[in-house]
């Protein structure tokens, strides 16, 4: 009886997890599927397999009729990708360095209004994007800063520093400060201790923060939309403006490529994390000398 029940339970659990993953991934798989569908009129009706949408976004010749093509200019798309990459890489570099240094300062030194400072650093993370976007726009306009790649980078840094700060702070909080004391005790100066002990131990946090900063910067639409101006367009803003003129099959191809890029980044991240873990396994072996 209980055996039957156990079997049922197992079946139910299997079905449940299957459904769960369908729920998570079905929309994404649909897009991937549509990106290979040659039907230019209605992407939901399968016609034949084609790579034309991919060829089209890279400006290669296609078998599609001129009127089926929607990407007006491949150059525009590539420029958007380039802007996105420039913005994301610069912001990642800047916010990772500043966020990490800030986290170190807040964790290692005592000063007045420390918890208020922490709160200020936490705020940009929870502030609604739309508020931040409008505020930044008004700020840039009122100080007379031209909108463009520079303003996007500055805008992204304002909240990405917070993300890096939070992640590196968490890592620092989990780190035993006595390790730094032990290093000093063994004759290492402040800089040597930082390089040989602190940095390697918080490196996974820094890497995690940097990766998150990169992904968020690449992905951000709302804030960027307000502060990008007319000359600089990032990929999300470009896609959004494409969609406003109707959903076109190239979008699926672009989305699929973006998806692929994120998977690669995530896979690299996971790989690095596992490597870090296997370097310090928690297993303990008994030594015969002990007894």
């Amino acid at each position: 009886m209980s055996k039957l029940f156990g079997l049922l339970r197992q079946r139910f659990l299997t079905a449940y997890s299957l459904l769960f993953f369908v729920f998570l991934y079905a929309p994404i798989l649909l897009i991937v599927g549509y990106s290979f569908n040659s039907n230019p009129i209605n992407m939901m009706v399968w016609k034949t397999f084609t790579l034309d949408w991919y060829r089209s976004i890279f400006g290669l010749s296609t078998q599609l009729g001129e009127n089926a093509l929607y990407v007006e200019s491949t150059d525009q798309l590539l420029a958007a990708v380039r802007t996105s990459l420039v913005v994301a890489l610069t912001t990642t570099l800047f916010s990772t360095v500043v966020g990490t240094l800030t986290a170190l300062a807040v964790a290692r030194y005592r000063f007045r209004l420390q918890s208020f400072y922490r709160f200020l650093l936490f705020m940009p993370m929870v502030m609604p994007d739309i508020v931040l976007g409008i505020a930044l726009l008004i700020f840039f306009v009122s100080v007379g800063m031209p909108l463009g790649t520079g303003s996007i980078i500055l805008g992204h840094c304002t909240f990405l520093i917070s993300y890096v700060f939070i992640i590196v702070s968490a890592r620092l909080a989990g780190m035993d400060t006595r390790l730094e004391e032990a290093s000093a005790d063994l004759g290492a100066g402040v800089w040597t201790t930082f390089r040989r002990i602190t940095l390697p131990l918080i490196a996974p946090g820094i890497a995690g923060g940097a990766m998150l900063a990169f992904i968020i910067s690449m992905d951000d639409l709302v804030i960027t939309y307000f502060i990008s101006g007319v000359d600089a367009t990032t990929l999300p803003v470009f896609i959004y403006s494409m969609i406003r003129r109707g959903i076109k099959p190239e979008i699926n191809a672009i989305a699929t490529l973006l998806l692929l890029a994120s998977f690669v980044i995530a896979a690299v991240g996971l790989y690095l994390r596992n490597k870090q873990h296997s370097a310090t396994p928690a297993t303990t072996e008994k030594d015969p000398n002990d007894e």
Binding site: D176, R178, L179, E181, A182, S183, A184, D185, L186, G187, A188, G189, T192, T193, R196, I197, P200, L201, A279, T280, P281, A282, T283, T284, E285, K286, D287, N289, D290
Partner: protein
């Protein structure tokens, strides 16, 4: 090292004072004017209850806490403005503080690598140091792959490989089980005499302090209570705190009055009396007198050179704890007396029942008079 430093103290601490402000707004006097010097090759133990300032004293020597007042000299050099990494001192931390991202070999070699010792020499010295603690051949392991006792040995090797003038050890054995702890106590002691390094060892385990130290410094409330060899501390405590803190003891308080010739009598408040050799300063003040449980016997030695006195009472408790028979006697006035009996005495007592009348003897030279 200059030849003169062979006899000069390694560390000299004068009037060391350290206050902490607690978040509640109070001031804690962690060190209230400590004077202490440690000689080369000496094993000094700081002993005291939790919160008495042991760790604070170590941290001021290693440089992690700055003194509010007073001075610390190491090998004759004033240390007040020398940062921790420039002091010729190494520490074995209570939780070992091994670097989790470095192998055992790199952990032990850290101090040498920081000082730019060439790799060849470094590997050799790391091997030697690990050999001393019985861990050679484990260089490639990571600290996470070691048992507690092994981590402790690595922490020790990491400190001694630098050949410091002074090694500070903050309760290094507290995380180990009793058996391993005793093994490590012996190893640590023999390692110390082998190396010729001065050790300042912190513990709140009095047994550990008594077995390992050349000198014990008993601390309480930021003050040194007493300083001396283990037997001095145990047999001649200078105050009631030390008497109570170290070992078991029976403490009596009363007025001393002259008795028969060389003897005096301590008249206790409840009417009991204790006979003892007259102390040198035979004032008739209120006094504390201490008698250790093991100073009692049931059978009065027949051919003893000294005089014996007795205490009578009812057997209130008895417990056989292996080598000793531990009993509590209740005198007529209800005062409990703790005694630990051995051998023939223990066997005799085994036949007595709780409630029986028992007479305990003690040599009149045994009671120790505490001035304050």
């Amino acid at each position: 090292m200059k030849p003169s430093s062979a006899t000069a103290p390694v560390v000299e601490i004068r009037r060391a004072t350290k206050r902490f402000r607690t978040p509640e707004g109070q001031t804690v006097h962690a060190l209230a004017g400590i004077d202490l010097s440690v000689n080369p090759n000496e094993f000094v133990t700081l002993l005291g209850p939790s919160g008495c300032g042991k760790t604070t004293l170590l941290r001021t020597i290693s440089g992690f806490e700055a003194l509010d007042d007073g001075s610390i000299h190491i090998q004759g050099r004033a240390m007040n403005h020398i940062p921790p990494h420039s002091r010729p001192v190494n520490t074995v931390f209570q939780n070992y503080a091994l670097f989790p991202h470095l192998s055992v070999g790199d952990n032990v070699g850290y101090g040498l690598a920081v000082r730019k010792v060439p790799r060849r020499e470094r590997e050799m010295r790391v091997g030697e140091a690990l050999e001393m603690v019985g861990m050679n051949g484990m260089q490639q392991r990571s600290p996470g792959q070691l048992s507690g006792g092994q981590q402790q040995r690595v922490a020790l090797a990491r400190a001694i490989v630098n050949r410091p003038a002074l090694l500070l050890l903050d309760e290094p054995l507290s995380a180990l089980d009793r058996h391993l702890r005793q093994t490590m106590q012996r190893e640590l002691k023999s390692l110390q005499s082998e190396l010729g390094i001065a050790f300042v060892f912190v513990t709140h385990d009095q047994e550990e302090a008594l077995t390992m130290s050349d000198r014990i410094v008993v601390l309480n409330g930021g003050h040194i209570q007493q300083e001396g060899s283990p037997s001095e501390i145990y047999n001649r405590p200078v105050n009631t705190f030390v008497a109570e803190f170290i070992g078991e003891s029976n403490r009596f308080q009363g007025m001393l009055e002259p008795f028969d010739g060389q003897f005096s009598r301590l008249r206790l408040e409840d009417g009991d009396t204790l006979t003892l050799m007259s102390p040198a300063s035979g004032a008739a003040d209120a006094l504390h007198v201490m008698l250790r449980p093991e100073q009692f016997c049931v059978h009065k030695p027949t051919e003893a050179a000294e005089e014996y006195a007795s205490l009578c009472g009812r057997l209130a408790q008895k417990a056989f704890v292996g080598r000793d028979m531990e009993i509590t006697l209740e005198t007529a006035s209800g005062r409990p007396i703790k005694a630990a009996l051995r051998g023939h005495d223990s066997r005799t007592l085994a036949e007595r029942n709780v409630g029986d009348e028992v007479t305990l003897w003690y040599a009149t030279s045994a009671p120790h008079v505490i001035a304050a």
